[in-house]
Point group: C2
Chain length 332, copies 2
DNA sequence: TTGTAAGCGTTATCAT
DNA sequence: ATGATAACGCTTACAA
């Protein structure tokens, strides 16, 4: 691999001049510039990002931490962030946290040690305090899908409570009064916000909340399967089943079919997220649209604005969920 | 951020000793080692990976290039690779190629410039020659889902032709003789291999291949929608529709339902890949299982073996597709 | 076992 | 406009 030395040699100029040409951040005469460019081409020179980053303390890359690499949800988020940054000539370094404190911290430290210019984090295990502390450090961070008062201007969130409210309200408006709920894990904030919205809607319709119609799932398909089975076994009747996300709803649909239940005739089912295949399920899933890709884009824009001086970008911190009515929930 | 200097100061030892402790690759007395560790803890020292990598020409991280970050297929692949490497204490740096030559090359150069210890590539636009050339360089590379004779020992592939053969054979065995096909893009190798298998099966059953029952799609859901519409419009009857992948098949299912066609009674449909929601579609999709997550794991293992000296790992270069029979294809 | 010092490939601050 | 040269934070012979 050719280095800057060899380029400067071949071009007959100093190191500094070569550096100036690559960064074009200082006047270099057209003639010498051309000599340098020619030398670079001839040698197939590619700057060493590591050395560059060590010397300049910049890296033109931003770290991205997601819980998992697979799954429809994070895929969209990563895609949004990456494309936005790439268009700006920046690179993204992705790593995972697996919703585990140690792994999240480890991932963050990895990204920091790589000299990322900024961090975009979708973390769920690490504490608010840790993030606030981290925020005081030198590297700007953006939190996605989590709201922390003390650093509100660094957060990109969805109003999950509103979403929870909207979906349950739509079920109530269809006449349902016996409504079961499969939630996400209790320790996840978005999960709780959705439940909060759910309860608010119930209250508005004077429907008492029944703890026995609540099952705590884990946001996976299997969780939905288990949830339906468990709720059915409990023996308390319900005509609608609101799920904390689409993946669990898809598990519910599959299990219901297996048990010979007709959705939506015997049971209305709803999801949350509007993942890519929600409209491909049978029946097509009534759900809440979660503009996660756009939010990924926005997180990137926030970084571009703050770190890379794209002043004119408009930042929007909170996104609004929307009801998407399809065929899995009907009038009772 | 504390540096190695401050640690050596506080511990009262030399730079080199601190370095030895962090890498524990040379004898250090227990006493001094403890002093160093204490100093590190006290300062909250975190080694600077950039400097480390510059000095040692290693980075403990491997570059991963995928066409897209979203989608069920690559998500599984990245997940497999990442978890395998992470368990070995290595990190993965992910970037995208978007099936575009320039972007793929750009992505590869980015990874190289980051000093990755190895590259795992899922590339489709770049030429064989380019990869062969790249392979001659200093950084070991692994190619996933693409077979290149000259570097067969660096490739992890699936026998796509066999898969294409198996799925069409299963349809033929159900008595179908008028079989339409929606393929992936012509310029993708896997797409062509699948077609090749398809044709072989037809031949075996003495069914002439009909070019007019062939539609070239793009491996996306929309491609499937358009494909079905186009094939129907052509007016040539068919009782089965074999799709080049599951995403297109899902588009076909949705469009068929929209048109009031009953799948599988009026039309048998098959996919390829067995993506995560293939069993959630209605009807559940008969398809070919593509063990992409395992292949992601294997690519990582190949790197671990070659680059990180885990000698005992067993490497498997070619994976075998398996027929998964569900409900979308029935006896005619 | 420990220390010294020369890199690693850049950037950036001075001079000129 | 260009050139020397000292960082950047670490690894690694080579000495001691």
């Amino acid at each position: 691999m050719a280095t800057i030395y060899q380029v400067s040699d071949l071009a007959g100029v100093s190191l500094a001049t070569v550096s100036r040409v690559m960064n074009n951040n200082a006047k270099v005469s057209d003639k010498t510039k051309q000599k340098v460019l020619d030398a670079m081409k001839e040698l197939g020179y590619r700057p060493n990002a590591t050395a560059r980053s060590l010397a300049s303390n910049r890296s033109d890359s931003v770290g991205l931490l997601v819980p998992e690499l697979h799954g429809p949800f994070f895929g969209q988020m990563m895609g949004g962030t990456e494309s936005e940054l790439r268009d700006a000539g920046k690179h993204v370094i992705i790593t995972t946290g697996h919703s585990d404190v140690d792994k999240e911290v480890d991932g963050i430290e990895f990204l920091l040690s790589r000299n990322c210019d900024a961090l975009i984090l979708h973390v769920e295990a690490v504490s608010d305090e840790y993030l606030i502390e981290l925020h005081k450090g030198k590297v700007p961070i953006v939190i996605i899908n989590r709201y922390i008062e003390e650093m509100a201007d660094r957060c990109i969130t969805l109003d999950n409570a509103l979403g929870g409210y909207l979906i349950t309200k739509s079920v109530l408006e269809k006449g349902h009064r016996e409504i079961a709920y499969i939630s996400g894990p209790k320790w996840k904030d978005d999960s709780n916000q959705r439940i909060k919205g759910h309860k608010k809607a119930l209250e508005e319709f004077n429907v008492p909340f029944n703890e026995q119609l609540m099952y705590q799932g884990d946001f996976t398909q299997t969780g939905g399967c288990d949830g339906l089975t468990s709720l059915l076994d409990a023996g308390i009747p319900f005509t609608a089943l609101v799920c904390g996300n689409d993946e669990m709803a898809s598990g519910v649909l599959a299990t219901a079919r297996q048990k010979g239940m007709d959705v939506p005739k015997e049971l209305s089912v709803t999801g949350f997220d509007n993942i890519i295949y929600a409209s491909l399920l049978f029946p097509t899933l009534t759900t809440i649209d979660y503009p996660i890709r756009q939010m990924g884009h926005m997180a990137a824009k926030l970084v571009l604005k703050d770190v890379y001086d794209k002043k004119k970008l408009e930042i929007r911190h909170q996104f609004i969920p929307k009801l998407v009515e399809r065929n899995s929930a009907i009038i009772v």
